[in-house]
């Protein structure tokens, strides 16, 4: 099972994922033309920011999806082919139950505010053998298209290595340190503290 997995220590909030998401969902598929399209091809994920960490908020395509379970008209379904939770725009009545049910806040409003609007798992790209646009364009690998089990194993191994290192150094190595963004994150903590 492949998903776009996220590494919180790698996101620089450059918003390339948002931009490339828009381009790949535009009619022209070309940035220089897409910016003139109407309605604008809105991004289907959004980079949120806290003083400690940047989070590209994106539909997790949950196995037990609250949006799907809660949709009163059955406009949300799981597509078995590309293993994604999809909104049927023609059926959507714009009640926005899904917007509030989503534990991530990953469902937004369409440009005309009449329908729910979210990540479609880049179904078209997957069919062509491409990775989802956000993961394919991420310059640091904060978003990556990976086997979930493999990513989980790696994460387990990293946790073990980190704890071992922390023990060896008397616990002086904090979680965020040593990452390329350690300095930026530290600075933001200071700023948040005022």
């Amino acid at each position: 099972m492949r998903r776009v997995v996220y590494d919180p220590l790698k996101c620089t909030a450059c918003k390339t994922c948002e931009l490339q998401c828009s381009v790949s969902h535009s009619r022209s598929k070309d940035l220089l033309a897409a910016i003139f399209e109407s309605p604008p091809p809105l991004p289907r994920l959004s980079v949120a920011w806290t003083p400690a960490v940047n989070v590209p908020v994106r539909c997790a395509h949950c196995e037990t999806a609250p949006c799907l379970l809660g949709c009163p008209v059955g406009a949300i379904r799981r597509d078995q082919g590309c293993d994604a939770v999809l909104i049927d725009e023609d059926r959507c009545i714009g009640c926005f139950s899904c917007v509030f049910l989503c534990p991530y806040g990953a469902v937004r409003l369409s440009f005309d505010r009449k329908r729910a609007y979210k990540c479609d798992g880049c179904a078209d790209r997957i069919v062509e053998g491409l990775e989802p646009a956000c993961a394919a364009s991420c310059p640091t690998g904060a978003l990556a298209w990976r086997e979930v089990e493999e990513a989980a194993r790696e994460k387990t191994a990293l946790t073990a290595a980190r704890d071992a290192a922390a023990l060896a150094r008397g616990g002086e190595l904090a979680a965020g340190e040593g990452s390329p963004l350690g300095t930026i994150l530290k600075m933001r903590e200071e700023m948040a503290r005022g």
């Binding site: 450059c14 918003k15 390339t16 931009l19 940035l31 220089l32 897409a34 991004p43 364009s137 310059p139």
Partner: protein, 643 residues
């Protein structure tokens, strides 16, 4: 995005052979890094990334839903205009620096402080002196040269607000008056550069129009304090180019010889390296080599081939590949377009990578402090480095692989040499045959194809396909810069190319001129006018044609194209051609699309103001179609036939 498998009929087999060698030897090339970089930052591409202050960095949402201004309140129109002006400033600084070095050298020659150099073109010096108002009668050449140099240097320190000497001396009256009306006459290039950096820093100019006018003024700096000054003084010191047929492509490297590849821009260094390569042949022989073989890469290749017929190796995007041949003993660089990746590759093949300019250094390079006063000693030191490297290379058993690919090119087309070629057709009025051919429609128009070899467009053979499309439609092409390396390797600078590519009407004209000039074959359909600073030659040629017709340059059926540009220098050159009222085709897209103001100015408003216009087209077909439509529109306005 994997373009490695794309092949066109124009692909240089040498590039493929050496790229495979690089892959086998796990050498990373510019094309590999480009592939990893994709997609590149969209905010940067649109010009709406601002890093001018530390409330940012800021980026504007091009889809209008998120951030609409920077933290300071700068709109995308302001951000794009500031970024673009800064890149034009980078380009103009490069050219002004290049020209200023030559002005200082001319003064040193005149004062006897640079014994390695002399004045080769007294005629051109005297003609410049006349235009600058420097007295010549009965004065020694050196005294005139010193005054001409002082006129150039004076511009760089001028604080009286008066127009630059070089503009007053070298712009035609019609053009000068147009620029005066538009507020584009500049006084001091250094002040202009300083003001541009100042006005674009945090909390200054927030008027997009005012910023774009500054960009056009930066174009004027680029041409008159950079390109034209550099070409004029290089011709005086190193000679006016004359026509000659030379060999291009990988086979100019010679196994069994000491190969020195000169890379960069200013002939001050490379001319001396070439001279000492010949004079130290004995030492090369003692090292077991046949001789010292100097070849030119990038624009120094253009400078050397135009004047001395020195073998014409390749363009900037091939620099890494030339090192991977393993046949280069020394790569000697001065400034501009020297990729930082080169020294590490050089090391793999025992090539000595030699920097010579104090502000172009690399921790892994050998640095030889080259100064004109000590030119002969330093040039010998450089050539001896190469001879020593040859011995090391042989001892280490490095086996070079030199692809067996070559082509010929006719080069050396200065305005002076073109006029003398055309004199063979009409001695009294040399430009008349060209003007008659344009008027009749045998030559539909002329396009200057200039600039760099961008790996983004190289695999698609953008330049070659555009040239082919234009020639088929009877458009004459003049070239400068690395684009000429591309076209030379593609065989476009030969009489055979006229037969192969030129439309029937253009072929007829070129055949007539070629035979009248005693070539015994047609004139090539692509004329090589020099390096990137020699875009001033193209401008001089246009000025001569416009003067002859009694019209502004902006009314001529001509266009400029930088079909694969890379550097900021292309931005500043393009800005000058816009100031001169000429259509400028650009690919890749310039970073202006995030600004509706810029797009409307460059494509709709400016054409009405002075004729300047930007055409963005990233495919050869679209570029050719856009340029042809423009040429026909200009012809219609002049009442000339368009078919």
């Amino acid at each position: 995005m994997d373009k490695t498998m794309d092949r066109t009929a124009y692909t240089n087999p040498g590039d493929i052979e050496i790229a495979r060698k690089a892959a086998d030897e796990t050498i990373e090339l510019v094309t590999d890094r480009l592939r990893k970089m994709m997609p590149e930052c969209g905010f940067g591409e649109l010009g709406t990334c601002c890093v001018m202050c530390y409330m940012g960095p800021c980026r504007i949402d091009p889809f209008g839903q998120g951030t609409r201004t920077g933290v300071c309140g700068a709109t995308p129109d302001v951000i794009v205009a500031r970024n673009f002006l800064r890149s034009a400033t980078g380009g103009a600084s490069s050219h002004a620096g290049h020209a200023r070095e030559l002005a200082i050298l001319l003064l040193e020659i005149a004062e006897g402080k640079a014994p390695g150099y002399k004045i080769r073109e007294e005629g051109k010096l005297l003609s410049l002196a006349g235009k600058l108002g420097v007295p010549v009668d009965g004065r020694p050449v050196n005294a005139v040269a010193a005054d001409v140099a002082r006129k150039a240097i004076e511009d760089f320190g001028r604080q009286d607000g008066k127009p630059m000497n070089w503009i007053r001396a070298r712009a035609s009256r019609t053009e000068y008056e147009k620029w005066e009306r538009l507020g584009l006459i500049v006084s001091n290039p250094h002040n202009e550069i300083e003001t541009a950096m100042h006005r674009t820093s945090m909390g200054n100019d927030a008027d997009p129009l005012n910023l774009w006018v500054a960009t056009l003024r930066m174009g004027m700096v680029d041409n008159f304090a950079g390109l034209m000054l550099a070409t004029d003084l290089s011709d005086v010191i190193f000679g006016i180019p004359t026509p000659k047929v030379v060999t291009a492509n990988y086979s100019v490297l010679k196994e069994g010889e000491v190969n020195i590849a000169c890379h960069g821009h200013n002939p001050i260094l490379a001319s001396k390296v070439a001279e000492w390569a010949d004079r130290l042949e004995g030492e090369a022989k003692a090292a077991g080599a046949g001789r010292v073989n100097v070849v030119g890469i990038c624009c120094i290749g253009n400078e050397l081939v135009m004047r001395y017929g020195i073998p014409y190796a390749g363009h900037e995007a091939q620099t890494e590949l030339f090192l991977v041949t393993g046949a280069v003993d020394a790569m000697v660089v001065d400034m501009q377009c020297v990729m930082p990746s080169l020294p590490a590759i050089a090391k793999c093949y025992k090539t000595r990578f030699i920097t010579t300019v104090p502000f172009v250094r690399h921790p892994e390079a050998i640095h030889v402090d080259f100064r004109p006063e000590a030119a002969d000693e330093r040039a010998q030191e450089i050539v001896r480095h190469a001879i020593a490297a040859y011995k090391e290379r042989k001892a280490a058993g490095i086996r070079p692989r030199i692809p067996d690919v070559s082509s010929k090119l006719l080069t050396g087309i200065s305005v002076e040499s073109l006029v003398s070629v055309l004199s063979a057709v009409d001695a009294k009025d040399p430009l008349k045959p060209v003007i008659d051919a344009i008027a009749a429609g045998d030559i539909l128009g002329a396009v200057g194809m200039v600039g760099c070899p961008n790996p983004k467009l190289r695999d698609g053979a953008m330049s070659e396909k555009m040239a082919e499309g234009l020639l088929r439609n009877n458009v004459l092409i003049v070239t400068t810069g690395c684009v000429n390396h591309i076209l030379a390797q593609g065989g476009f600078l030969t009489s055979a190319a006229t037969e192969k590519y030129a439309g029937p009407r253009l072929r007829k004209v070129l055949t007539a001129i070629g035979h009248a000039a005693g070539l015994g074959a047609p004139l090539p359909p692509v004329l090589h006018m020099g390096s990137c600073v020699d875009n001033s030659r193209i401008y001089d040629l246009l000025a001569a044609l416009a003067g002859k017709l009694g019209v502004e340059i902006s009314r001529l059926p001509v266009a400029g194209s930088a079909p694969e540009f890379i550097t900021e220098k292309a931005i500043s050159i393009g800005s000058f051609f816009l100031a001169a009222g000429i259509l400028v085709h650009l690919a890749p897209a310039p970073r202006v699309f995030g600004s509706p103001f810029a797009v409307s100015l460059l494509t709709e408003k400016l054409p009405g103001l002075n004729g300047g216009k930007v055409l963005v087209a990233a495919t050869p077909d679209a570029a050719v179609a856009g340029i042809l439509a423009h040429l026909r529109e200009k012809r219609r306005a002049l009442g000339l036939p368009v078919a």
